[in-house]
């Protein structure tokens, strides 16, 4: 038997060494016979998936407003109940070269539940890509590149999202019809194409930094229609609030994880900074300078944590603030949460609040909305893990937005309807393989 094995080793080893040279792995009798090009011994490719099905009950202001065309009366009425599904397919490849270098690619395909049917997209079940990134890693740390969150998103602690659909970072946004709250969750900056370095861990500490030129995702570095939509837009003469986009986004984060007498401790601190697309013929735009802190403790099934963000930014830490007269309000946000896990059940709650300069919409006459804005959200819910990969969830989320000068019924400026609130109840199943 051994002779056969060793014989196979020699033959396969010779083939591999001859064809791949220094990258060949150690001789292995269990390596599939054949040319090295067809051997996937050193690579691991996995297919994963996700599916959810929820009943959604939504009660939101200005959606059930009778008939008529007056202010705040659109003539459309919406019901409360709906079913919704969402699915994701993940393909992940990981490998390790003979010199110890680890590498891989992750591709996340999803049906985008948020997208409306448009001329280019026939339905809301169209597939698109969420995160797509590759990495190389070794004793130097990890270099990750692609459409991925910044390092505050990747390394922050303190966000309590391990119950139900994820609290204020969960699925209730999919039930809203406009007027979504800005609750400053770590992934709010999105997956713009970037390059990320993350260090090894030293005495519980690790750190990282990420850089992106702009807010664009995907392969297109130019634009299909109009210069204003270009990823590489640097300045613009006629400015709208939608062109207040980030450029040269730099994020640096430091994280600590450890445990003391059975209590798990996590802490993180980050700087989020970005220039903005310039306005060459009018008001300026402030650079984003935001500090972010997070802390969490875990013991005996309890997890408590919170995050605090502060600095110069607009509506959320990922949006630049326009330099409008009387509208230099600083950005400040926090979220706190707690969860408890006992066996297969987790229950939790998360509260978040953001205070910001607000919508800052500018009309054609140059009049700006300068009222400060407050977004508040509270989510409570629970998860029952039926078996590995199948969960039943129930979650109730309520939120309120207040901004002087904004009419939330019409979306424009106005003295009426300066606040909006909504409640979403979700319950259903989710599966992962």
């Amino acid at each position: 038997m051994r002779k056969i094995l060793l014989g196979t080793t020699a033959v396969v080893g010779a083939v591999v060494m001859a064809s791949t040279g220094a990258m060949a792995q150690g001789a292995d009798p269990f390596r599939a016979a054949g040319p090295a090009m067809t051997s996937h011994r050193d690579l691991e490719v996995r297919l994963g998936g996700f599916f959810r099905f929820y009943y959604s009950n939504t009660d939101q202001d200005y959606l059930n407003n009778g008939t008529g065309t007056g202010a705040g009366r659109t003539g459309f009425n919406q019901g409360k109940s709906d079913f919704q599904e969402e699915t994701e397919i993940h393909i992940v490849a990981n490998g390790k070269a003979a010199n110890g270098l680890r590498y891989g690619v992750a591709v996340e395909i999803q049906n985008d539940s948020v997208r409306q049917a448009t001329s280019g997209t026939n339905s809301k079940t169209s597939l698109d890509l969420d995160e797509v990134w590759g990495y190389v890693a070794g004793s130097f740390g990890q270099l990750r590149m692609g459409d991925e969150d910044n390092v505050w998103g990747l390394m922050s602690v303190g966000q309590i999202a391990n119950f139900a659909t994820g609290g204020l970072d969960g699925d209730f946004y999919d039930s809203l019809s406009g007027n979504s709250p800005a609750l400053s969750q770590p992934s709010d900056a999105g997956d713009n194409t970037k390059i990320i370095y993350m260090s090894p861990q030293f005495a519980g500490f690790d750190f990282g930094a990420s850089f992106a030129f702009n807010t664009g995702e995907g392969p297109l570095s130019g634009c299909t229609t109009g210069n204003a939509s270009c990823d590489r837009l640097a300045s613009i003469e006629t400015f709208g609030s939608s062109t207040a986009r980030r450029r040269n986004e730099v994020v640096a984060a430091l994280r600590y994880r450890g445990s003391f007498a059975g209590v798990g401790l996590g802490a993180s601190a980050a700087y989020i900074g970005a220039d903005a697309v310039k306005n060459t013929n009018g008001f300026g735009v402030d650079r984003i300078n935001v500090g972010a802190l997070g802390l969490q403790l875990s013991a005996y099934g309890f997890l408590v944590g919170g995050q605090y963000l502060f600095g110069d930014a607009g509506l959320g830490f990922a949006t630049p603030r326009l330099k409008l007269v009387n509208d230099d309000r600083r950005y400040e946000a926090f979220n706190v949460g707690a969860s408890y896990t006992l066996g297969q059940i987790t229950v939790g709650a998360q509260y978040g609040e953001t205070r910001s300069a607000g919508a800052q919409s500018v009309n054609t006459a140059g009049l700006a909305n300068t009222g400060g804005r407050t977004d508040k959200g509270l989510s409570v819910g629970g998860t029952y893990r039926i078996s590995p990969g199948i969960e039943y969830i129930a979650e109730y989320t309520t939120y309120k937005i207040e901004e002087a000068g904004v009419n939330f019924a019409t979306g424009g400026r106005g003295t009426a309807n300066n606040s909006v609130d909504g409640q979403v109840f979700l319950t259903g199943f989710r599966f992962a393989f």
């Binding site: 051994r2 150690g26 690579l43 994701e88 890693a137 970072d169 601190a269 600095g311 992962a432």
Partner: protein
């Protein structure tokens, strides 16, 4: 505005200094490699615990399971050594009474055993499984033999091929187990 920015810069100065200190630390010592699952993942799939497949993360569609931390058959998380070699060694040595087995260190030690046909001699075996890889040199077996002379057990030599034969038995069994798993 400038005042705000200056204040923000002041607040953030310690944050900027800390990574620099860590960079200096990185230069003089090598840290622990941080795995991909230690970073936040905001995909909906990542929020579900466990996988329907029972695998650690997704279905293996090509290549070799490199997870090494539970779920995978070839590198089971409960074992410190290759699972096929471990099971094959236990199978092969099952005719001897087991004295101790350490799945993390990969050591199996049997007790003495006298075959009914030859009550005057007894055997004992020690097996070492040398790593996580399924390799032909991944297992070492030493067989010890004693003979009864004048009422006491004294050490006696073992045929040189015995150890190798036992190892070959283990490898054959390991290969069998692996092909059974792969066929599933």
């Amino acid at each position: 505005m400038l005042k705000h920015r200056a204040r923000a810069a002041l607040n953030l100065r310690p944050l900027a200094a800390a990574p620099l200190m860590l960079l200096a630390l990185a230069a003089c010592s090598s840290g622990r490699v941080v795995e991909n699952d230690e970073y936040n993942n905001d995909s909906r799939r990542a929020r579900v615990q466990g996988r329907l497949s029972g695998e650690q993360d997704g279905l293996l569609i090509m290549g070799t399971d490199r997870s090494g931390r539970g779920g995978g058959a070839s590198e089971s998380g409960a074992l410190g050594v290759n699972a096929y070699l471990w099971r094959a060694t236990l199978d092969t040595l099952s005719f001897l009474p087991l004295s101790s087995a350490d799945p993390f260190g990969g050591v199996i030690i049997t007790d003495w055993y006298s075959p009914p046909a030859t009550p005057g001699e007894r055997f004992r075996a020690t097996a070492y499984i040398l790593g996580r890889q399924l390799r032909s040199d991944g297992v070492r077996i030493s067989v010890f033999r004693q003979e009864q002379r004048n009422g006491t057990w004294v050490d006696a030599p073992v045929a040189p091929s015995t150890n190798t034969d036992m190892e070959n038995q283990v490898l054959a069994r390991a290969r069998e187990l692996r092909s059974q798993t792969a066929a599933r």
